[in-house]
Symmetry: C2
Subunit: 523 residues, 2 copies
C-alpha cells in the first residue's frame, strides 16, 4: 500500500486527502518514496468580461490527458469554483467541458464536499464572536466582514441590529474571505490556527484586537477539520485531478491551496496548476505571492490560454495577450501560447500560427479542446515536454539535463521575496512588471494616502511592518489598468485604498477598477 493511501478516504464519488498529515509524514520520514513534481502554470489572456472564460480549466484537463497519453505522470490542481455564482447563473462552473471534462463536474460546481460552506461558517462565526466582543467591551468596532456563498448585490453593504444599533457591516463572497486565504496559504493546522489567531476582529479605541486574544481557536479549526483536505477526482479519461482552494484571483488569491500543490508534487512528475482569470491576476499572484512569499514552487513552464476572438477581435486590446506571454518569458519561464478554438474557428489555425510567429512566440498550441479534448494537443507537445526535460517514454530526466538556458537563469534572479519593500514602490514595480504601466503612471486617488496612513497606524499598533505584508492587488478581472484602451504610454493605474489582512499576511490594495466587495450580478 502506498503511503498516500493511509491519508485517503472515499467521500461519496470523490476522495478526500489528508494533505497536512501526508506532508507531515514525508517531513518526518524523508526516506519515504516521493516524487519531485514540476509545476506548470496554466494562466490566460485577460478576459473581455468577468463572466467569459478563455478555457483555463478545459485546457488544464486536456493538457494532463494529453501528457498522460504520452506516458507522463501528470496531474492537475484546480480551485473549487464558487457554487453561489454557478448556481445563481452569474458564471458557468469551472470543471472543463466537452471531451475535456471531469467525471463529476456537478460535484465540483455544486459545493463539492462542503469545503466552501465550512469556510463560510468559520468566517461568520468569527463575525459573531467579534459582535459578542463588542457587547463584552473588548472591541468597539468590528472589522471582520460576514460572508455568504451566494451572490447578493444588496448584501455588499448591510446594517445589522436594524432599528437599534444600525451597525454598518459588509458581506463578501465566501471565496474572497480572509478565512479562504488562510486555508489556501496554511501548510498545517497549527499554522492555520496561528493565522486565525492573528486575524484582527476589530478595534478598541482605534487599537486592533486579534481573535487570538479572546476566542477559543478549536471552535474554528473544528469547523475546518474536513475543509482543509483536498478532493481527488479525475478527468473522463481517468487522469488525477485535485480540487482545493478558492476562486477570485481579481479580488483575492485565486490560486489552489499550497498544500494541494505540495502534495501533488510529491505524487506526480508534472503538476499542472490553474490560477484564476488572466496572467495579470492569478499568475501574478502565484508568482509574486505564493512563490516569492510563501515558498510555493516557481513554475517550470507556463501555458497562456486565449481565444482567437479575445486575442484579435478587439484591436485596442490586442496588446494584452502578447504582453502576458512575453512578460512570463522575460522572467525566465518557458511560456507556451495556447489558442482554444471555438466551433467554426478551425479555418483560422494557419493565420493564428502566423501571427504568433510574427510576435516571436514559441510555436503555439492550437485546438478545439471542448470538441477534441487531449487529442487536440498530444501531437503538439514535443517542445513542451522537452522544455520539461521529459524523455520519449514520458520519464523525467535529471534536473541537469533540463537546466534552464543561461538567459533564463540570469532572469530568474528575481524570484526573491519583496518583504520590506515600501508599499508604493511595490505598487510601481507591480504596475510596471505585471500591467506594463510605467512607474510614474501610478496615480493615487484622493483618499488613498489617508487610507494608507490608517493602515500604517493599524499595522504599527499590531506590531506588524506594513511593508512585510504581501501586496495583493484588488482589481477588475477584465482590465489591467485604468483604461486598457488608451495608448501604451498613456496607461495609468490608480491606487484607491488599502486593507491589511493580518491573518493571511496580505495587504489588499484596491485599484480604481476594483469592486472591493465582490457580489456579482445574478444573470
Amino acid at each position: 500500500m502506498a503511503l498516500i493511501d493511509e491519508f485517503t478516504t472515499q467521500y461519496g464519488l470523490v476522495k478526500k486527502m489528508d494533505a497536512f498529515g501526508y506532508l507531515e509524514r514525508l517531513r518526518k520520514d524523508p526516506g519515504q518514496p516521493r516524487k519531485q513534481g514540476r509545476v506548470i502554470l496554466v494562466t490566460a489572456d485577460t478576459p473581455l468580461k468577468a463572466s467569459r472564460g478563455e478555457g483555463k480549466t478545459t485546457t488544464t484537463i486536456a493538457l494532463i490527458d494529453a501528457l498522460r497519453a504520452r506516458g507522463v505522470d501528470a496531474a492537475a490542481v484546480l480551485r473549487q469554483p464558487s457554487m453561489g455564482i454557478t448556481a445563481a447563473g452569474s458564471k458557468g462552473g469551472a470543471s472543463g467541458g466537452g471531451k475535456a471534462s471531469l467525471t463529476h463536474p456537478e460535484l465540483v460546481d455544486w459545493g463539492l464536499t462542503g469545503e466552501m460552506s465550512a469556510i463560510e461558517a468559520a468566517q461568520n462565526l468569527l463575525a459573531s464572536f467579534a459582535e459578542k466582543a463588542v457587547d463584552d467591551g473588548i472591541i468597539d468596532t468590528v472589522l471582520v466582514p460576514r460572508v455568504c456563498e451566494v451572490p447578493s448585490r444588496s448584501a455588499r453593504q448591510i446594517a445589522v441590529d436594524r432599528g437599534k444599533g444600525d451597525v454598518p457591516e459588509r458581506m463578501v463572497l465566501t471565496p474572497a474571505s480572509e478565512m479562504m486565504q488562510i486555508v489556501v496559504l496554511s501548510r498545517s493546522m497549527d499554522e492555520l490556527g496561528r493565522r486565525v489567531a492573528a486575524m484582527v476582529a476589530g478595534t478598541k479605541d482605534g487599537k486592533p484586537v486579534r481573535f487570538g486574544e479572546f476566542i477559543e481557536l478549536w471552535r474554528i479549526t473544528g469547523i475546518l477539520h474536513d475543509a482543509v483536505k483536498p478532493v481527488l477526482t479525475e478527468t473522463v479519461n481517468g487522469s488525477p485531478v485535485y480540487v482545493h482552494g478558492g476562486p477570485f484571483a481579481n479580488v483575492s488569491l485565486g490560486i489552489p491551496t499550497l498544500v494541494s500543490v505540495d502534495m501533488a508534487c510529491a505524487l506526480h512528475d508534472v503538476v499542472v496548476v490553474e490560477a484564476g482569470y488572466g496572467a495579470d491576476a492569478g499568475a501574478q499572484k502565484w508568482l509574486d505571492i505564493a512563490c516569492r512569499e510563501y515558498g510555493a514552487q516557481w513554475p517550470a513552464a507556463a501555458v497562456v490560454v486565449t481565444r482567437a476572438s479575445t486575442w484579435r477581435d478587439d484591436p485596442e486590446l490586442q496588446w494584452r495577450y502578447p504582453f502576458h506571454v512575453n512578460r512570463l518569458e522575460s522572467i525566465g519561464i518557458p511560456t507556451f501560447p495556447l489558442i482554444n478554438l471555438w466551433e467554426g474557428e478551425d479555418g483560422q489555425v494557419d493565420s493564428l500560427r502566423q501571427t504568433a510567429r510574427s510576435l516571436g512566440f514559441r510555436t503555439p498550441i492550437v485546438g478545439n479542446l471542448f470538441r477534441d479534448g487531449g487529442l487536440a494537443l498530444s501531437g503538439q507537445l514535443d517542445d513542451f515536454v522537452s522544455v520539461l526535460g521529459i524523455g520519449p517514454t514520458g520519464e523525467v530526466q535529471h534536473a541537469e539535463s533540463s537546466a534552464p538556458s543561461a538567459v533564463a537563469t540570469a532572469r530568474m534572479a528575481d524570484k526573491t521575496s519583496h518583504r520590506g519593500v515600501d508599499v508604493l514602490d511595490e505598487a510601481r514595480w507591480l504596475a510596471s512588471s505585471a500591467y506594463g504601466v510605467s512607474e510614474n503612471h501610478v496615480l493615487l486617488k484622493p483618499g488613498f494616502e489617508e487610507s494608507l496612513e490608517d493602515a500604517r497606524r493599524l499595522c504599527l499598533q499590531a506590531e506588524v511592518n506594513i511593508d512585510d505584508l504581501a501586496f495583493l492587488a484588488v482589481k477588475s478581472p477584465a482590465t489591467m489598468t485604468d483604461d486598457d484602451r488608451v495608448a501604451q504610454g498613456e496607461r495609468t493605474v490608480t491606487l484607491k485604498k488599502v486593507d491589511p489582512h493580518f491573518g493571511a499576511g496580505l495587504l489588499h490594495v484596491s485599484l480604481t477598477t476594483s469592486l472591493t466587495t465582490p457580489m456579482p450580478k445574478i444573470v
Copy 2:
C-alpha cells in the same frame, strides 16, 4: 447484497443513504424484502432553560444499545444539531455522551457532510433570486428571509443595500428555515421541487408571487442533491443511527426527516425517533403535524425523558412532567417515564420510583445513562418490549399479538387530520391538548387579528385555504404557557402573530413567549 446497499455510499467516516431512491424502489417493487418497523418516540420534559437538555439523544442511544443487546433489531433516527450553535458554545452538541455516544460525535456536531450548509445556500439563493425579482419588477416586497448557520443576534433584523435602499430584511438560523422544513417533509425530489416552487418569494402590489413563477428549480434542487440523503453512523456499541433533518422544535418542526424514518422502518423492527425539546414541542409536532398531516407513523410507544432535578426541584413547575406522560397515555400511546440520573443521584432511585407510582405512571426506567449507557436500561425493558409485542428472543410478534388495548383503540380515534379546522379553534385545541390550558384561556395579543387578517388575505390571493395549512406553534422551548408558574386554572396562552409557509404547508403561529427569529445568545 441487500437492496439498501445499492443506495448506500461511503462518505468519509459515515455513510450516505439515497432514501428517496430506496423508498421509490420499494414502492415500484413491493416484492422486495422489507421490514415494518415500529416507531418509538423519544421526547422529554419541558427543559428549565433552552440550553439545558434532559438527555434525549443520550437516552435514544442507550435505548437502542439496550434493545439490540436483547436481540431486537433497533435503530435510532436523530436530527442533525445546528453546528453554529454548538460551535458558538450556545449549546452542547446532540450526539449523546459518555457510554451512550456515537462513534463520531464531532462529525454530527460539526456540520456532518454539509447538509445544513447546502440548505443554507439553497435558501439564501432564493433570497438572492427574490432580490433580483425586485430589480426585475416581478415583486416589490421580499418575504423570504436570509439564513445563517452561526448565531448572530444583531443579524435578526438587518437592512440591506445600506445607504441606498436600506431595505429591511430578516435573517434566521438555517435549521429554522422553510427550506429545512421542506427537506424534512418531502418524500421525493419531485415533491421537494414542488414545495420550493410553492414558496412565496414576496408580494407585488400586495399579491403573493411564488418562486415557481420565475426561477429555474434545478438550481435549488442541484444544491440539495446530497443534502436530502440521510447519514448512517453508529453508536460506540455498533448500533445503527440515522441522522437527518433539523433541530429547533420550538420555532420550527424539530423532527427528523420523514424519509429517514420511513427508510429506517423498512430496514429495522424498532425505530427510535427523537423529537426536539419537550413533549409540548417536538412530540406535539411529530404527532399533530408529521403523523396527522404528513403520513408519518403514529408511535407504538413513547419514552419521556427527564432529570430528577428538572422534574422535582422546582415545585411550581413539577406539574409539567406528569402532564406530558399522562397526555401521551391519554391519546393511546403507551408512555414510559425515563429518569436520566446525573452523578450523585443514584440514592434517589427509590423515592423517584415511589413518586412515579403515586402518580400512576408505568414503572419508570431509571439510570445514569452517561455513566452506564445501555447497560443501565437493559434490565428494565421487559414491560417496554412486551408493549411492542417483542418476544423473548427479540423477534417482533404479529401485529395481532401486540394489538393495543380496547381503551387505547378508542382513544386512538383522534389520529385524523385537522385540515380545514379554523385557525383559532385549532389554537384552542392545541392549548388544551398539549399545554393543559382551558380553551377560553387562549388570548389574542393586540395586533394578532390584523396579522391573521393579512395572512388570510395572502392565502386567499395564493388560492390556499389558510385552515388547510398545518398549525405550527412558535414558542419558547422552556415554557408551555404565558406563565407556567401560576396555578393551573390561571394559565393562559397568548397568540401574537401568524406567518404562512406556503412551500412547507405550515402556518406559523407565534405565542407570546416566542422568539420569532431564533438567533441564540453566544455564551
